[in-house]
Symmetry: C2
Subunit: 290 residues, 2 copies
Amino acid sequence: MGFEYRDGVETRELRYFVAVAEELHFGRAAQRLGIAQPPLSRAIRQLERRLGAALLERTSRTVTLTDAGSVLLREGRAALDAVEAAERRARRAALAATGHAGVVLAAKAGASSELLAKLLDAYAAEPDAVTVDVLLCGIGEQERLLRDGRADVALLHRPFDTTAGFDTEELRTDGQVAVLPAGHPLTGRTHVQMAEVTALPGLPMPRWPGLDGTYPDGPGPQVREHAQLLQLIALGRACAILPDSCRAQLGGDLAAVPVLDAPTVTTVIAWPPHSRSRAVAGLVQTATRL
Amino acid sequence: MGFEYRDGVETRELRYFVAVAEELHFGRAAQRLGIAQPPLSRAIRQLERRLGAALLERTSRTVTLTDAGSVLLREGRAALDAVEAAERRARRAALAATGHAGVVLAAKAGASSELLAKLLDAYAAEPDAVTVDVLLCGIGEQERLLRDGRADVALLHRPFDTTAGFDTEELRTDGQVAVLPAGHPLTGRTHVQMAEVTALPGLPMPRWPGLDGTYPDGPGPQVREHAQLLQLIALGRACAILPDSCRAQLGGDLAAVPVLDAPTVTTVIAWPPHSRSRAVAGLVQTATRL
DNA sequence: GGGATCGATACCCGTGCGGTATCGCTGCCC
DNA sequence: GGGCAGCGATACCGCACGGGTATCGATCCC
């Protein structure tokens, strides 16, 4: 009795655990996984026995994570991403061998668009350039895309995006400007302070969705896209503080005023630390030479 | 016919593939895995079908990796390390909850010993210090230990160790010195150049084992440990270029002369990028204050 | 050309995953 | 407070799949 199973955890078990840990509900997790609830209960219990650690505290009404469970949730997600990345990158390497080479570059939709355009142009002019598929994504999604192999390289914006775990090169740093409806009183100023913008009556800062897709509480309108935000500002329903480089996208109905005490924004190009891809290396080199 | 299995790769399949890819021999790989050869062949074939990619080129006499196979070997190892790390860190988090907290610090055996001693002393004096288990390991092993969760934090030496994928803080930088037998002609000099040391007649530079445990070809003696190297130098069979801080360990039979054009060595403390451990944070903070 | 080596194939068996039915506990509501 | 609803655990079953043995077929070597 009391055996120690000495072979490792299977990804299936990790997927099951992550589902339960996210839902905190065996029934919903089972539904999400497309299996029935009893096998799920069994699998989790087996995982706990194998680890020799309680992962979930269950009463018959509620499920909560133990400390070990929280750790396994975080680390397990990373591990699953790594497995997915291995799978996807192997598939793409096979495609590349049959002639269809290419890189996937992830960038926030609506950000750094002229920098991105310049980069793509410059890289396309390189002698050994390959196809670059651009993957426009939401706020903060780039890291996930890099980690699970859906992208090979990404444009990130410090300090908003975290570059932890990636290799990076800085491309440019921008000050930030307040974007306001044309004709707003502040428009005449040569510069403003953060405090003047964040507390404008009737022009709240918008709320962006978190990584889980939900919005924080607060007064501002909920926005999901860059264009949507600009339209809201033009309508006089919001204002925002954005990197200086966004000026190129502002129409006549919007005005920008530099914010002196806003943190500067650094655009970096990032890639997974052990990337051996010649195409990624070329893209990075081109980017640093812009 | 021609089904697409849309659920992910299992770690068992990855372990099997890595074994075959490393051995390039189904029989030996099966033996290493403790299973028979036919199920292994089947598993690999199934993995290839699932990925839709050839991973191995087999004739009945030889097995070689395809491009996709090389990618999957590299990425698969990383993924397996991540899964192992998740497993180990969850186990240790469970232990921590039952009172036995602690951090594992990895350091090269024989390197930075006084820095390490100072760090351990200083950290032990902190109010919320926990037990620090020191894991002395071979050259370049620290990265693996951090990646698969056997260590929580490590001391690395740039540019010899790669810090890719970790968060780091620099602790100190040293020049390098040539370590020679006492009485050697160069001993009288106040400084030397790289070229003068690397080509000394009868005193070749030693060869260190690579990550796979094999030695590169060359004239120098094979060494595996720091102490072994110093003894060889004292015997007049080798010389070496080492960080300045090694002087503390040199006995009277060895002499050190600064090498002006050698790259400086930076000692850094490194930890996995998403570590949420209070103990690691404390250790890092203590280290940076030394 | 015969033997040795090695991967693939054929076939069988047992484990274990996933399913359905049901129990037992808990909180809730009239 | 008793009945009910919700949820996780347990019991049991069937089958798919992982692993084993035996054997084939190809290739290299002497």
